[in-house]
């Protein structure tokens, strides 16, 4: 068919990439992924994006523009309204295809299937099969979907901590997955911890049903998936960890409340915690200094 689909390596790429690539493969389409986030991509995005928007959105825009600059004229930007029943991601995700379209030249086509599991968790199956049938045949789309889903499940299962047993000296790292897994932002955190003798544990390494169960302890139901997972994880492991690191993006609406709730919860549980705010000006230096001081403190606590 000759159609090449550009996939921006940003936002939900970090949690749905296996599904996406398998799906397009099943449709017989070629895919191109944008490179890992770098300074150039960040600058590209933040120079164009509207002032008030959050860092991940600027990064996302950078990836999209990068793909467009490379001459790719079909870009995959799904409209991810919700991935769990009765929950949302955040308002930005609801308008993501429209947001991207605004910044792209007219000839670039955006593929924007809707993922909305708020009411009906199989909605997305219908949505993707429909979307796939437009690009290939109905049979291909069904087959691609089931294969992609299988791959995605296997991949997710592999993320879990082996034996469901928390390592000793575990430090919980919370935040949006697209921040934590984008090494351009989180690389220094992993580096700092790798030498320290502490083990970083993230929410996606813990079983989702357990997180959901523990999140029920909240007085008010958390309706942002990422926030619910973070707070659920916090409830789940609060008594078994030595510290909490929260990665929050400047101007992120959900983080502004969730990181505050995590901090309060940690304080009440007596767990040392630190919130690292990221924006495009933050030099790695500032973050690393604060992080190292935090790790030093954890080590002193352990020895004393």
């Amino acid at each position: 068919m000759g159609l090449t689909v550009g996939i921006p390596r940003a936002l939900f790429y970090y949690q749905h990439a296996p599904f996406w690539s398998t799906f397009f493969e099943g449709l017989g389409l070629e895919t191109v992924e944008s490179p890992h986030t770098n300074k150039e991509i960040l600058d590209l995005g933040s120079a164009r994006a509207v002032d008030g928007c959050c860092l991940p959105l600027k990064v996302f825009l950078g990836h999209v523009l990068h793909l467009a600059d490379r001459g790719i004229d079909t870009i995959f930007v799904p409209k991810i309204v919700s991935i769990v029943r009765r929950e949302y991601i955040c308002p930005y995700f609801l308008g993501l295809p429209d947001f991207a379209r605004h910044y792209l030249p007219n000839h670039v086509r955006i593929l924007d299937p809707v993922v909305d599991k708020r009411r009906w968790s199989w909605q997305w199956a219908r949505s993707f099969v429909r979307f796939g049938s437009d690009l290939a045949s109905f049979r291909q789309a069904v087959r691609a979907f089931s294969k992609a889903q299988q791959r995605q499940r296997d991949w997710e299962a592999k993320q879990l901590i082996e034996g469901h047993e928390l390592p000793k000296n575990a430090v919980l790292l919370l935040g949006h997955r697209y921040l934590i897994e984008d090494r351009f932002f989180s690389g220094s955190i992993f580096d700092s911890f790798s030498k320290s003798g502490f083990h970083l544990v993230m929410a996606h390494q813990l079983p989702e049903p357990v997180l959901r169960m523990y999140a029920r302890r909240l007085q008010k139901r958390m309706f942002w998936t990422s926030g619910r997972q973070s707070l659920g994880a916090m409830e789940y492991v609060a008594d078994h960890i030595v510290g909490v690191v929260t990665l929050a993006s400047f101007a992120c609406g959900t983080d502004s409340l969730v990181s505050d709730l995590i901090q309060r919860r940690a304080r009440n549980a007596g767990v040392p915690n630190i919130v690292l705010h990221l924006d495009e000006h933050t030099g790695a230096a500032g973050t690393i200094t604060r992080l190292e001081a935090f790790i030093d403190m954890l080590q002193r606590r352990r020895t004393s």
Partner: protein, 379 residues
């Protein structure tokens, strides 16, 4: 039990009536001032959005006046407002405040909890009073809105600057004091009459019409929007507010609570720019701007708190609407650091832009939105 609640423009009038009729003592927080914001910012997470901080300030100031229970709305939209109440509860709890918080959620979200909260509130009140209280509050809500909308039309033509605001405030106080539906109606009628009398009899050309869109709290709370409507009015602008609290209550309380609210009409208006609901009033902002262009408004002002997610999406897309409809649009972002001087300059320059443009293009031909087919400015 002394009930208080956050401020949002003149909303305190109907809400006060509601609780009073239910038999509670009500403490209306003092109007928002710099002190409110200072108090609020001191105890809120720094990166939270402006409305959260101002509301915390409201609670603390009300507590100083003896309030012990806060009534606040919840919600489970993608917007942050839905989680405000919980964060605010924790902030107050960590402060060691004894303020109790009652969160009013939509019935569909958690029916048993709503029943429990309702029982908590009504336990002390009388069930039989509920219908009367609801009716009085509803009438007062409508009354305040029609007075304010009249003021928006009169202000650009007022004889002395500030007169409209003063007359409006007096009329609102009359509505506030009215204890029966009939007195409310009388207060509105008189108030509207007095407001029209403010208008200069002759001279003064037809005002420029600017549509006001944006996030609901910033649109309605004059302290937060730096009295945007008054500023525009004094520059000879008739503001067409596109958000109506009466409509909001109809949509979200009456229809929404039983799952009947649909955004189809907005989606149709926003077609080609935004494909659907993005939380808060983002979709409204796009849809209404597009409609305003079709109704002959000279320009649109969008107002939003810094980092307000739904409105930022709208802000990014508004230039497309502006280009397609040749409609000048000004986005104003407010936070606790917003300076008055720059704010005023921007508004003045925008109004200059519009009036110069009008002089070029229409040569004096204008139309009032009164009776326009889209219904803005009607009451």
């Amino acid at each position: 039990m002394k009930i208080t609640f956050p401020h949002m423009g003149s909303l305190y009038i109907p809400v006060e009536a509601l609780f009073q009729e239910l038999g509670f003592e009500v403490v209306v927080p003092p109007p928002c001032t710099k002190r409110t914001l200072e108090l609020g910012s001191r105890y809120s997470p720094e990166i939270a959005c402006l409305p959260l901080k101002v509301m915390i300030g409201n609670y603390l100031e009300a507590a100083e006046l003896g309030a012990d229970t806060i009534a606040m709305i919840g919600g489970c939209g993608p917007c942050r407002l839905g989680y405000y109440a919980e964060v605010q509860r924790q902030i107050l709890a960590d402060l060691g405040s004894t303020l109790d918080m009652v969160v009013i959620e939509t019935p569909l979200e958690n029916p048993s909890r709503l029943a429990r909260d309702a029982a908590k509130i009504l336990g002390r009140g009388k069930l039989s009073r509920v219908p009367r209280a609801l009716i009085l509050a509803w009438e007062k809500l409508k009354a305040c809105e029609s007075l304010e909308k009249t003021a928006l039309r009169v202000r650009p033509k007022e004889e002395k600057p500030g007169l409209t605001t003063r007359v409006l405030e007096l009329a609102l106080q009359k509505v506030r004091q009215a204890a029966a539906v009939r007195t409310v109606h009388k207060a509105v009628q008189e108030g509207i009459g007095e407001l029209w009398a403010v208008q200069e009899k002759h001279g003064r050309q037809d005002p420029i019409i600017i549509g006001l869109v944006g996030e609901i709290y910033t649109v309605f709370e004059p302290f937060v929007n730096l009295r945007l409507e008054e500023r525009l009015g004094h520059l000879g602008v008739e503001v067409a507010r596109t958000i109506s609290l009466v409509q909001w209550v109809k949509d979200h309380v009456f229809k929404g609570s039983i799952g009947l609210y649909r955004t189809t009409h907005l989606e149709r208006s926003a077609e080609g720019f935004l494909s659907g609901f993005v939380g808060g009033h983002g979709l409204e902002t796009i849809a209404r701007s597009n409609e305003l262009a079709n109704c002959g408004a000279a320009g649109v002002v969008q107002i939003l708190p810094f980092t307000c997610m739904p409105e930022v999406i709208a802000q990014a897309i508004l230039p497309d609407v502006s280009r397609a409809k040749e409609l000048p649009i000004l986005s104003l972002v407010v936070d606790e650091h917003t300076g008055e001087a720059g704010f005023q300059t921007r508004i003045e320059a925008f109004v200059d832009l519009l009036s110069r443009k009008r002089r070029e293009a229409y040569r004096g031909q204008t139309q009032s939105l009164f009776g326009s087919r889209c219904g803005f400015g009607q009451y």
